[in-house]
Symmetry: C2
Subunit: 175 residues, 2 copies
DNA sequence: CCTCGCATGTAACACGTTACATGATTCA
DNA sequence: TGAATCATGTAACGTGTTACATGCGAGG
């Protein structure tokens, strides 16, 4: 069995040959919000993919610089398709802000407000990043992958609004 | 430094003495949605808390049955407060459904719809659990911790609605 | 008597991040 | 010439889950 990271790599290889370095870059500007990956996973995973015949690596020497380009195989495409159709769509999130808020509850409203404001700023920053990504993609031919971006945008909009609403309520109560 | 799990334990101990078993139960019905913990973390962490003087364990023998009850110390309370006020409110989520959807995009609309429907069902199930928890808490004196529940409820409502909306759009396009 | 819930704990494993080591090429 | 970027990779570490081992007590 492959790890999720392995399938993510296959997913990118399905759009064309890539080096490990390029895959890392692609992950960082696309799936990172809901699935990150580091070199420490990518490179070993590429080797494993090669061993299992799901991808093949080729040395593409550019002068003295090493560069290994991986391509997906038919078996790789089949494995990717099979994975997409597995009915596992588990979502798990770890929210340190919410956690702090949860335990701040018994304390002063000032503490709760401090936590809420920090949460708000944090989520607003992420939202801004997403909006920037969206505006960048506007001039490109409509990206079908935009679905995930759309989802994230709505999610963080909700988060920011919730924080604003809750801050307002607490301030109301405090006065 | 303590792990987040350590602070979560301190957070529960701040409301009164608990055994490791009880903490696990509390986590499972409250923070689990945004922060889970297993026995494999809880028991070693309780020992560490004791060693660092942030909590103290006492044997409460009930007949032949072993039971260690931990209480928070003043140093523990201070550490908890300090942690709550640290301005780290990072949220990270891993969404396998979104990931599959992302890589399904280049394929058939049928595949995308299958993924979306699986996502919808999964999120609707979580939403139902949250609603059940909320209804349980209605007869209790108003829980200030309800803030986190409220946030989760809204979040999963958004997720279900987004899935429904997107499914409808794709079906429209397909016909 | 047997099952379920209470209760504690550990060892092996899986996963992922961080930091480090190394070196080429490009561009200001 | 020096910084940034391209490029590959590993070792150590941290964190968390799963599976297992063990045994008491209560109620049907």
């Amino acid at each position: 069995m492959l790890s999720n990271t392995g399938y993510v790599i296959l997913g990118f290889l399905a759009t064309g040959p890539h080096s490990g370095y390029e895959i890392k870059q692609k992950v960082d500007v696309s799936t990172r919000l809901f699935f990150a990956a580091s070199y420490g996973q990518i490179y070993p995973e590429l080797k494993k993919l090669d061993e299992q015949g799901l991808a093949t690596g080729e040395q593409h020497q550019q002068g003295q610089r090493a560069r290994v380009e991986y391509s997906i195989t038919d078996a790789g495409r089949a494995a990717l398709d099979e994975w997409i159709d597995r009915a596992v769509t588990k979502v798990e999130f770890r929210d340190e802000g919410l956690l702090r808020l949860f335990f701040a509850d018994t304390d002063s409203p000032e503490q709760r407000l401090r936590v809420l404001r920090a949460m708000r700023d944090d989520r607003a920053a992420t939202l801004a990043v997403l909006e920037q990504i969206k505006s960048k993609h506007l001039d490109e031919p409509v990206e079908r992958r935009g679905l995930a971006l759309d989802y994230g945008l709505g999610l963080f909009e909700y988060a920011v609004n919730w924080c604003d609403r809750t801050i307002a309520e607490l301030e109301q109560q405090a006065k």
